[in-house]
């Protein structure tokens, strides 16, 4: 277990809630001021911060118009309530045991139907991309949700660099398999390594995001360091963590949860309040961090992103293709 001393932060350094909630207008003003003073220098955005946050601060993070205008969950909620079965099936297991994961050096194997396959170093994967913050709601298939300020870059920008060819109809992602570093993999509760996939159209949608950080800092291991997918209109399990392989393929990949319980988890796994999980309702969700006495929230179609993604599923029976 990692025991770290909580960072000492003067109360004067903490952004007040009012300023925090008003950060976008602050940013706009700051941007105007910066533009006026320094010409075309890049705008340093007021990304979300939390007094409890730790880890290396990511520089030059800009804000995104695709972000939700909602206050995110606390750093503590985001980093201690995780489903990452590679480190145990309890919600707090990942935060306890993910310290054993070594994310440097890191390589990502790119293969399949593309013109630039190969083994890429993490630095080479990340270096061309400008970082941006995306505040998204994460809706878990277990009927809870959180608002998380991710930092990363559009998935499409990354995939295009590998030049997928016309046979690349799907993208398959894989998590590291190493039971030495990931103690949860010693039990075969899932068919390790964890595999997820998207259609190429889904992967190229501007909302699909590759995250390398959260709360303006590098991703903690329990959140999927060094890089993870974030697909906000799908249930959380589609947003695969700790990726070390990307494969372009002609055929639909067999994803881990689908393989484990095909009646309960499908390939698409779009957030849909009208199609229940066979054992529980998906009509509403518990908001993490809202305390003991808060009501549930009504779940939105495609987790509130219907406008951006509904066209991807035209003509598809979402009841059968859940």
């Amino acid at each position: 277990m990692l025991i770290r001393k909580a960072p000492q932060i003067k109360s004067s350094e903490i952004t007040s809630e009012a300023d925090y909630l008003d950060r976008r207008s602050f940013l706009a003003k700051a941007g105007l001021a910066a533009a006026g003073l320094a010409g075309a220098s890049p705008v340093i955005a007021a990304v979300a911060s939390d007094p409890g946050a730790s880890g290396r601060v990511l520089e030059n993070v800009s804000e995104s118009p695709l972000s939700l205008d909602e206050a995110p969950n606390s750093w503590r909620d985001v980093t201690t309530y995780n489903n990452f079965y590679e480190f145990g099936t309890g919600k707090e297991d990942p935060s306890r045991y993910a310290g054993s994961l070594v994310t440097r050096p890191w390589q990502v194997k790119v293969s399949g139907e593309c013109d630039q396959p190969g083994d890429y170093n993490l630095e080479d994967i990340l270096s061309p991309h400008a970082l941006e913050e995306r505040v998204y709601r994460l809706r878990c298939v277990e009927a809870w949700s959180m608002v998380i300020p991710w930092v990363g870059f559009p998935l499409a920008d990354l995939l295009k660099r590998f030049q997928p060819n016309s046979d690349a109809r799907f993208v398959r992602f894989r998590t590291l398999y190493d039971p030495g570093q990931m103690p949860g993999q010693r039990r075969r509760i899932l068919d390790w390594p964890y595999v997820e996939g998207l259609t190429i159209e889904e992967a190229m949608n501007p909302l699909a995001f590759m995250a390398v950080g959260v709360y303006g800092r590098e991703l903690p291991n329990q959140n999927g360091a060094p890089m993870r997918l974030v697909v906000p209109w799908k249930y959380g399990f589609k947003s695969i963590k700790t990726i070390n392989a990307i494969h372009f393929t002609r055929t639909r990949p067999r994803t881990s949860w689908e393989a484990s319980a095909p009646r309960e988890y499908g390939f698409y796994a779009n957030v849909n309040p009208n199609v229940d999980h066979p054992r529980w309702s998906q009509a509403s969700e518990r908001i993490i961090g809202s305390g003991l006495f808060a009501p549930r929230r009504k779940t939105e179609m495609f987790n509130g992103y219907a406008e951006q993604v509904a066209h991807l599923y035209q003509g598809l029976d979402l009841r059968r293709n859940f």
């Binding site: 309530y81 099936t89 809870w144 509760i189 009509a283 993490i288 305390g291 003991l292």
Partner: protein, 245 residues
């Protein structure tokens, strides 16, 4: 004044001597002492969850307190139910028949925790949305199981008093066999709602299976013993029906 204070210390010494002399193993005083100790032990999980719910003394229930409360109350209820069911087999094996004096206490605590589990579900989780609740009970088999299991415990809790025992006579024992069905439904409910990792629920199921099996083995043996006794008691030339107890 002097005599008065002396008499006080004497009384105190007498009280202390009376209270702290260890009663004989299995005696009435002994079971009373254990019962006194059992109460705070049985309430400890509630205290822990209560402190966590209101974030007192550094306790907390994590990022999803409703879920934590719901799951912990349910699991404590099942633990008490299994403990209640363990009393009878333990009596057979150890010969400590005084154990039976704790059975009602443990059984009522099982009901208490499971009822709180139910309350947290309808009030904090479902927010008293009764239409959603009805849908849950009808359409979610694991909730149907859990509800039925709790409902079966209700008459047992109500008739757990001495008065009802007397009033129901032989039927009391028959009625209280419902506890087996309730325990099976409860553990099944636990097993069915697990997303993937069924290890913990399997442990509960195995303990329940062992406890039920112990009863079957015991009653078989008892039946065989009665059979043997009745055969030896049977007069050689009776030719009639064997004696039954």
């Amino acid at each position: 004044m002097a005599t008065r204070s002396r008499s006080l210390t004497c009384t105190r010494a007498w009280i202390c001597a009376e209270t702290f002399s260890m009663p004989a193993f299995g005696s009435k005083g002994f079971t009373r002492l254990i019962k006194t100790l059992l109460w705070p032990l049985c309430l400890a999980p509630l205290l822990w969850l209560g402190l966590g719910a209101f974030e007192l003394l550094g306790f907390n229930l994590g990022a999803n307190p409703v879920e934590k409360l719901l799951h912990e109350l349910g699991k404590w209820g099942l633990k008490f139910l299994l403990l209640t069911l363990a009393i009878t087999p333990l009596r057979y094996w150890t010969g400590w028949h005084w154990l039976v004096t704790f059975r009602r206490l443990l059984g009522l605590f099982a009901f208490f925790y499971l009822f709180l589990h139910f309350l947290v579900y309808i009030v904090l989780d479902r927010y008293l949305d009764f239409s959603g609740l009805l849908e849950d009970i009808v359409e979610r088999p694991y909730i149907t199981l859990g509800m039925t299991g709790l409902l079966l415990l209700l008459p047992l809790a109500l008739t757990s008093t001495r008065g009802w025992m007397r009033r129901l006579g032989r039927r009391w024992k028959k009625l209280h066999r419902l506890v087996y069905a309730s325990a099976i439904l409860g553990v099944w409910h636990f097993y069915w709602q697990v997303k993937l990792d069924t290890l913990e629920a399997t442990v509960y199921a195995l303990i329940l299976a062992a406890l039920l099996l112990a009863r079957i083995v015991h009653s078989r043996r008892k039946a065989a013993r009665i059979q043997v006794r009745s055969e030896t008691l049977l007069p050689e030339d009776s030719g009639g029906a064997p004696l039954r107890r």
